[in-house]
C-alpha cells in the first residue's frame, strides 16, 4: 500500500539556521508515527512545512501521491490533513461548540443565500454541523459546557477541544504538535487512549512529543530529530537501543538506560520550576 504522506529530503533554512536539514519519512493509514527530539530540533518547523505554513527550501512532500508543495494550508486541510498547534490556538472569542463547527466549514453545504434566507438547506446544514461537532466533542471526552467561551475552560479541556476541532475537518492524517504538553499524569493517560481511538478510526497520526514514556507506549515508529537532522528512524525498541539517540538525548549520562523514568524525570525537573497551576488539573468529575 502506498503511503498516505511521503516526506523526502526536506530542508528548511531561516537565514543561517538550518531548522530542518534532511528529513524523510512515510506515514500510512491508521499508523501512529512519533517525531521526537530536543527543543529547537526542528519538529514544529517540519510540521509547518508539511501543513503548508512554511515553504521548504528543498525536498518533496506528497500527500496521497500528490505533491502538496506550494499549496495553501487551507487546501491541504481540505485534502484531508489536519493539525493542532503546540501553543493552543483556539478561537478565543468563540464558544466551544462554534470552535468545532468552524472546522466543518469546507464540508458544509450551506451557501451565502441559504444563510441569509434561512432556507431548509441552511437548517439542515446547521443541524448536521451541530450534531457532528457534538459527536466529536463527545468522542474526545469533553465534559464541560459547550456554550462556554474556550478561554473559560481549564487547560486540559482546551487541549481536547483543539483535537475535536482538528477531527471535525474530517482528516485522513492528523498532525499533533505536543498534545500532552502541560497535562498531568491522568490527563496524559486519557490522551493516549484518545490517540489510539483516533487511530482506530483509520486516521494516520504524526505525533510530536517530549514525554518518552508516552511515545514508547503509543508509537509504532519513531523518527528522531536533532539540530534539524534526522538521526534515527525505527520501532520504539530500536530507538531505545540506538546509541546515537541516547547520546543526543542524554549527552554524557549515557550509562543510564533510556527509559520511561529517566525522561519523565527530565520533564519533571522542567515542570518543577513553575508552580502547579490550578486549571491544568481541574478535571474533577
Amino acid at each position: 500500500m502506498s503511503a498516505l504522506l511521503e516526506v523526502r529530503d526536506l530542508h528548511l533554512r531561516f537565514g543561517g539556521v538550518k531548522a530542518v536539514d534532511g528529513l524523510s519519512f512515510d506515514v500510512h493509514e491508521g499508523e501512529i508515527l512519533a517525531v521526537i527530539g530536543p527543543n529547537g530540533a526542528g519538529k514544529t518547523s517540519a510540521f509547518n512545512c508539511i501543513s503548508g505554513f512554511y515553504r521548504p527550501t528543498s525536498g518533496t512532500i506528497d500527500f496521497e501521491g500528490r505533491s502538496i508543495m506550494r499549496v495553501l494550508p487551507s487546501t491541504i486541510t481540505r485534502r484531508g490533513m489536519a493539525r493542532t498547534f503546540q501553543n493552543l490556538r483556539l478561537f478565543k472569542e468563540m464558544t466551544v461548540l462554534d470552535n468545532v463547527k468552524t472546522a466543518m466549514h469546507a464540508n458544509l453545504r450551506e451557501g451565502f443565500f441559504d444563510t441569509l434566507l434561512h432556507t431548509p438547506r441552511y437548517r439542515r446544514a446547521e443541524e448536521a454541523c451541530a450534531r457532528e461537532a457534538q459527536g466529536w466533542l463527545d468522542f474526545v471526552g469533553f465534559e464541560g459546557d459547550e456554550q462556554l467561551y474556550v478561554t473559560q475552560l481549564p487547560y486540559g479541556e482546551q487541549r481536547r477541544v483543539e483535537i475535536a476541532r482538528a477531527l471535525a475537518t474530517s482528516p485522513k492524517l492528523l498532525l499533533l504538535d505536543e498534545p500532552a504538553a502541560g497535562l498531568n499524569y491522568g490527563e496524559k493517560q486519557g490522551l493516549m487512549r484518545l490517540i489510539r481511538k483516533i487511530r482506530d478510526l483509520g486516521v494516520g497520526i504524526v505525533l510530536i512529543e517530549h514525554d518518552m514514556g508516552l511515545v514508547m507506549d503509543l508509537a509504532e515508529r519513531i523518527v528522531v530529530l536533532n539540530y534539524g537532522k534526522e538521526i534515527a528512524d525505527g520501532t520504539p525498541a530500536q530507538i531505545k537501543a540506538d546509541p546515537v539517540v541516547i547520546e543526543a538525548y542524554l549527552g554524557a549520562e549515557d550509562d543510564e538506560a533510556l527509559d520511561d523514568t529517566t525522561l519523565t524525570g527530565m520533564v519533571a525537573t522542567v515542570d518543577d520550576e513553575v508552580p502547579p497551576s490550578g486549571d491544568a488539573g481541574g478535571r474533577s468529575a
Partner: protein, 403 residues
Amino acid sequence: MAPQLDLALKHAPLRAPAPLFERGKPASGPRSQPGFMKLLGALAFAFLLALPFIDASAYTISIATSALIYVMLCMGLNVVVGYAGLLDLGYIAFFAVGAYVSGILTTVLDWPMWAAVPATILACVLAGIIIGGPTLRLRSDYLAIVTLGFGEIIRITANNLDVTGGPSGIHGIPTWSFGDWSFRDGLDLFGLHFSGTVLFYYFVAIVVATVGIVGVGRLARGRMGRAWKAVRDDEDAAEAMGINTYFTKISAYIIGAVWAGLAGQLMATHLTAISPNSFHFLYSALILMAVVLGGMGSTPGVIIGGLFVSLAPELLREFAEWRYLIFGVLLVVVMIFRPAGLWPATAVLPWLRRHKPQAWPATAPLESLGGDDRAEVGPAAGARPAPADPRAQDPADDGEVRR
C-alpha cells in the same frame, strides 16, 4: 439521520460518531438569549413604526431617518471590523460609491430609483473586490493605511470629475417612483397623510435597516460568520481549519461595501443632493467609533453605537459649541469603564449568567468518555509530577507559525 447528514455535508472521509447523548433543544423563550433579542428587536421595530404617529414633524422624522442610515452603515462596518477583524479607515468610500452611482444613474441617465438598487449593489461588490483584492493580503496595520488612502482617493476623485458634479456635487436626485406614481404624490394610510417625501424615506430606511440588521445577524451566525470570526481570532488556525482566509476576508469586505452602498443610496434620495464633503474621513472615523463604542461584533451594541453617534450631536444641540467637547468626554468615559463596548459581543444576559452547564447523563458508558479513566487519577497520580503551566515548558517556543 444519516441521509439528512449526506444532504448537509459534502463527501468527507471521516464522520463523527453519533453524540453520546442528545442535547435538549436550545432554550427559545423570551428569557433565553435569542428569544430576548428577538423581543427587543420587535419592540424597537414597533417603536420605529409608531414614531410618526407620536411626532410627525419633519425635523424628528429626518433625524430618525439619518439615524437609521447610520445604523445601516455601522452594521456593514461591523462585519469588516467586528467580525472579520479588518481595520478599515476609509469605509465611508463605499457609502460614497453607493450615493454617487445611484445619483448619477437617476439624474444623468434618468433611471428610476428602484432600478438603481441592483446597480448600486453591483458597483459596491466591484469596488470591494478592486480595493480588497490587493490590500487584503496585507497585514492589518498596512490595511488601515491603504483603506485610509482609498477613502481620500474616492472623495478627491468625486471632487474633480465632471460626471460627479465636482465640488458642488449632484443636485435634484429624484424621488422613488413606480410608473406614474411617485413618493411626491403622497398617500393616505391609517388616517395619516404621507404628504411630503420625508415620511416615505423614513419607511424605506426602516425596511433597509431592518433587512440590514437581520441579514448581518444571520450571516454572522452561519457558516460564513464563523469563518469571519475564526479569521479575526487566529488567521493561521483558521487556515488550518480549511478556511481560505483571503476569500473570507474579501467576502467580509464585500458585504461591508454593499451595506454602505445601500446606505449611500438611501442618503442620496433622502437629502436629494450629495457633495464630496459628505464623505470626509471624519465620517469613516465616526462610524468606526460607533462600532467600537457599541461593541465590536455585537449587533445590539453596534445599533446603540450608531444611534449614539448620530443622535448625540442633535440631543446636545442646546450646548452649541460645547456639544462636541461633551460628546468626546462621554466617549472617553465609556471607553474607560466599558472597554469592550457598551454591549459587548460576549455579553450574557444577567439572569442567564448562572445557568447550569449541561451534564453528562449517568448512563453514558465510562470508557466512551474519551478514555479519561478516573480510576487512574487516584493516589498514584498524586505521586507524579504536578501539572505545570504549559506555557512555561518551552519558553523558546513563543510563536508557532512565524511568517
